[in-house]
């Protein structure tokens, strides 16, 4: 090797060594970088990778059914076609709204609702365009989907109410979630999700709703679903069994529909279960789930007989003569009035400078408690009320469930009103007047009760004086609703017996106010009490001129009430009927109560 070659070789070797070392160094740096990314920051990047690829989807859960006590469905989920829109896939919303009108009815209201939904949700969440579509409409949409970017067709479930009007007030209905009803429950984000708006649908919303299932899906870079990674099935809502008897309920609703405005409750005197609870007129709840038109809605709102209100729990009426049992019991329990007390009724009574009339102009002559109830003599009760005072009467009324909410499982229950001295002082700043006690003794004046309270009062009278509470719930899921033990009201049995004899004779004695409505079938016989509640005071002039109440405008006529029970001994059923402005308890309410009791006895749902 020449000197030059050797020099070149040595220089090369030295420098190759340096360069090789440099390479090793760079490799080392890259390896360290990889180690940093793949070991130290693995968790961080794994999370990012999962966030990249995994998207959470919610699966709907079936809403729980609502059934009657025998399993007849009152609310169920039926197949329904609907169309959705994914806003981010739609290029031109206006164009889609315009085009869609060629295939299905799509109102401006619909459009406004959709726009609201789009604003409140993320752009990739589907928004309900329209539901309750029929097969033909869906087919037309399906064929034209290519012209409707972002629109998709889905088969879903829609809530239906087979008994329609008959159970509208109790079962209620569901509707789209209003912004104020939004909670963090992810199921609410499901398009077209509906929430209970009234009735059991509302009060048992949490049980009926169930839990949304989740599906973790893998998505690719453009958001398309590739596969399902895991899914957790949703939990369907619990089915709610009501205490109602569907057939009795339908019968009751039909019977009440003969009046302009009426309500009735039939319940069990022992366990408080409600067999029928109707408010007439009613409405079709299916209108609300399938979309109600503006005209239909206006019509429901404008009706003076308030079809949207459940009058059995929200309606408040003076109880009239149906209250007389309470006055009597208060008198006997006070010890100030003996059971044998008798009063001469000349047709009126003078208290101070005021004259209070009995409903019978000529008077009843000498009356005892039994006749006073069966013939509904007002003067007897004026007399005993004068002796015991309002506070004792009010206390007894409260014992029988008046003046406060009974805790029925429905929204909108009102407490009614049981006035006493303190109440008047507190609310009106005035002292109680004796005349007001006189008026209150026959369920007039300030006192207000709901039909449900009247039924409960009757039940407590006939069940031996136990504080039974009403319930609509028979079972939740597979679990029967426990029947609570009710406390005794501690009222002497002989007083109760005496009062019940009066109610018995009111129906079954020839002179009884409801004799016309007696039930002659053996074993079906009922007892009861009529009530006619003044809506406005009868003026002296009207009394003199003998103006008949039925000739007044409808809204000035008396309310007609009747409370009934059956059978006569070991009574199991209590019933209250209120016919708004029905003029006379014996003529308008009693016949309805008779029919309802007869039907109840036939059905005998308690057995």
């Amino acid at each position: 090797m020449s000197k030059n070659d050797l020099e070149r070789y040595n220089a090369f070797s030295r420098r190759a060594f340096i360069l090789g070392g440099l390479h090793l160094g760079v490799f080392g740096a890259l390896a360290a970088r990889l180690g940093y990314l793949q070991v130290s920051k693995q968790d961080y990047f794994s999370t990012l990778a999962d966030e990249n690829r995994i998207s959470m989807k919610y699966l709907p859960a079936a809403r729980g059914q609502i059934l009657d006590r025998f399993g007849v469905p009152l609310a169920l989920n039926e197949q329904d076609f609907r169309i959705f829109l994914i806003p981010e896939q739609a290029r031109d919303l206006e164009a889609i709204f315009h085009r869609i009108r060629d295939f299905i009815p799509f109102s401006l209201q619909d459009q406004e609702r959709v726009m609201r939904d789009i604003r409140s949700k993320r752009a990739f969440m589907p928004v309900l365009l329209k539901d309750s579509l029929n097969w033909e409409q869906v087919s037309r949409i399906s064929v034209n989907l290519p012209e409707l970017p972002g629109v998709s067709v889905d088969e879903g479930r829609i809530r239906t109410y087979p008994l329609a009007e008959s159970t509208a007030h109790i079962v209620g209905y569901v509707g789209l979630v209003a912004p104020s009803e939004l909670t963090d429950d992810p199921i609410m984000m499901l398009p077209g999700f509906r929430i209970g708006k009234t009735g059991i649908e509302r009060s048992f919303e949490s049980k009926l709703r169930g839990k949304a299932g989740t599906s973790r899906v893998e998505i690719n870079a453009v958001g398309r679903e590739i596969r399902e990674i895991s899914s957790q099935p949703g939990q369907d809502g619990a089915r709610i069994g009501l205490t109602l008897d569907a057939e009795l309920q339908i019968y009751c609703q039909t019977r009440l529909a003969q009046e302009k405005s009426a309500s009735a409750v039939i319940m069990d005197t022992v366990n408080g279960q409600i067999y029928a609870m109707c408010s007439s007129p009613s409405f079709d709840p299916n209108l609300f789930t399938r979309g109600i038109s503006a005209e239909q809605w206006e019509e429901l709102l404008a009706n003076p007989a308030v079809p949207l209100t459940n009058k059995t729990v929200s309606g408040q009426y003076p109880p009239g003569s149906t209250f007389k049992m309470i006055t009597a019991l208060a008198a006997f329990e006070s010890g100030l009035v003996q059971t044998g007390h008798s009063v001469y009724c000349p047709g009126h009574i003078e208290v101070g400078r005021d004259r209070f009339h009995c409903w019978r102009r000529g008077g009843h002559g000498n009356v005892s408690i039994v006749r006073a109830l069966s013939e509904s003599c007002d003067v007897y009760f004026y007399d005993i009320a004068r002796q015991i005072g309002i506070d004792r009467i009010a206390e007894m009324a409260r014992k029988f469930g008046m003046g406060s909410r009974l805790g029925i499982e429905l929204p909108g229950e009102t407490p009614g009103l049981v006035p006493d001295r303190q109440w008047k002082l507190g609310h009106m700043g005035q002292n109680w007047q004796l005349g007001e006690t006189i008026v209150a003794s026959i369920g007039q004046g300030y006192i207000q009760t709901t039909p449900l309270q009247l039924a409960v009062m009757t039940a407590r009278l006939v069940n031996g004086g136990y504080a039974v509470r009403p319930t609509l719930i028979h079972s939740i899921g597979a679990k029967p609703n426990p029947e609570p033990a009710f406390a005794s009201l501690n009222i002497e049995k002989r007083y109760l017996d005496l009062v019940l004899r009066g109610m018995n004779e009111a129906v079954n004695h020839t002179r009884g106010t409801a004799y016309e409505s007696r039930i002659e079938e053996k074993g079906f016989d009922m007892g009861g009490k009529t009530g006619t509640a003044q809506v406005r005071r009868i003026t002296a002039r009207q009394r003199e001129e003998g103006v008949r109440n039925e000739d007044l405008p409808w809204r000035h006529r008396h309310h007609a009430l009747f409370t009934a029970y059956a059978p006569l001994d070991r009574s199991r059923y209590a019933c209250a009927v209120v016919v708004e402005h029905g003029v006379s308890g014996s003529r308008a309410a009693a016949p309805i109560a008779r029919d309802l009791i007869k039907k109840t006895m036939e059905r005998n749902p308690a057995s």
Binding site: A16, L19, A29, Q38, K41, S46, A49, N52
Partner: protein, 374 residues
């Protein structure tokens, strides 16, 4: 005349082949096929099969190159260099538009990317040049002007394509040969200082997308859905692979298309996601051994041409690996350099295999002494 030395027979050459290097080349080729099979979601189409076919052809070509006398290669160095530069110039004249840069000539059966071959051409030409230079001449800076032109002409052409990554790799590989040939240290110091000073000026010559890549590199999170997307997704893929990896065909980032260009420049990311740090380390080791073989063969060569060719090609190969991996791990901006032997793409692999053929030839003819002047 160097041909007067004894020419070896075929069977004399066989034992002189570096079978270790051949085996490593074979392994990397197979890793490439496997990675592309995975990139297609477990399918030989559209990449893995053709990659395997090209590899088979290139592998055979490599062995042929290995068997050709080193003296022929010395003699062919300038013509090959000239041809590659002419092809590069031809791309400028009649090029196709692809990915925003003109880089290839369509030969019908493959797209020829002259920039890959020019790297080999430059190494050969420089080796040829310094082979003929005496130590005294090498120490003279003025003497270095001619080889500098040899490098800067193709580098400028590549830069005009524009392909910043390859241009930088070209200059760095050439610099290594200057270094190994014995150019004074102070020359390097001066050039580096000049380059740093010229950087603001060079910045103006960069295309907008190149500037953008550098800016995004400096802060990838600034634009996660735009230009920073590549780097972020690549880091996510790497990082989520962990030590053991997600398993063959299980890479979520690559298979769900979050990772762009996974079959070309970002193939390393796919490998590291599916095989983890373990797989990446093994691949590193293989690459390191291949480079080590290049230097070893250079070291055993008895002629300056062989030493410079073998080490120059090894450095060239190492630069591919460094730039690519540094790029996908977010250490340097995205510059578009493939991972040799693994990334989908014919020109780069054929050029690399040709280069390894030359290294093998240097090994076979290591004992041949070559005169400084032809």
């Amino acid at each position: 005349m160097y041909f007067e030395q004894h020419s070896m027979t075929f069977f004399e050459k066989l034992p002189r082949l570096s079978y270790g290097l051949i085996l490593l080349v074979l392994i990397t080729g197979l890793i490439g096929v496997m990675a592309l099979y995975s990139a297609a979601g477990g399918d030989f189409e559209p990449w893995a099969f053709r990659h395997g076919l090209r590899f088979a052809i290139g592998f055979a070509g490599m062995l042929v190159v290995a068997m050709i006398d080193i003296r022929w290669w010395l003699w062919l160095s300038y013509p090959i260099y000239l041809l590659s530069v002419l092809l590069l110039a031809a791309v400028e004249v009649k090029g196709h538009i692809g990915m925003g840069a003109q880089r290839w000539i369509d030969l019908g059966f493959m797209r020829l990317q002259p920039s890959e071959f020019v790297k080999i051409g430059v190494v050969m030409a420089l080796a040829r040049f310094f082979h003929g230079a005496s130590p005294a001449e090498v120490k003279n800076p003025l003497f270095l002007l001619r080889p500098a032109v040899l490098v800067l002409l193709p580098a400028a052409l590549v830069m005009m394509q524009p392909d910043l990554g390859t241009a930088v790799a070209l200059v760095l590989a050439a610099g290594s040969i200057f270094f190994l040939a014995g150019v004074s240290y102070w020359v390097f110091a001066a050039v580096i200082a000049a380059a740093v000073a010229a950087m603001p000026v060079l910045w103006h010559f960069l295309r907008d997308y190149q500037k953008n890549r550098i800016l995004v590199f400096l802060n990838p999170e600034s634009d996660p859905l735009g230009a920073g997307y590549h780097i972020m997704q690549s880091k996510i893929a790497l990082g989520s692979g962990g030590i053991g990896g997600k398993g063959f065909l299980q890479g979520t980032q690559s298979h769900l298309n979050f990772l762009p260009e996974k079959q070309t420049d970002f193939i390393f990311t796919l490998l590291a996601e599916e095989w983890g740090l373990t797989g990446a380390a093994i691949l590193f080791l293989i690459f390191l051994l291949m480079i080590f073989y290049g230097f070893l063969i250079a070291h055993t060569s008895n002629n300056q041409y062989g030493r410079l060719v073998a080490s120059g090609i090894a450095v060239n190969f190492a630069l591919y690996v460094f730039i690519n991996i540094a790029m996908v791990t977010g250490l340097i901006p995205v510059v578009g350099v493939p991972l040799p032997m693994i990334s989908n793409g014919g020109s780069a692999m054929l050029a690399v295999l040709f280069g390894f053929g030359l290294i093998l030839s240097v090994g076979v003819y290591r004992d041949v002494k070559l005169a400084r002047k032809l």
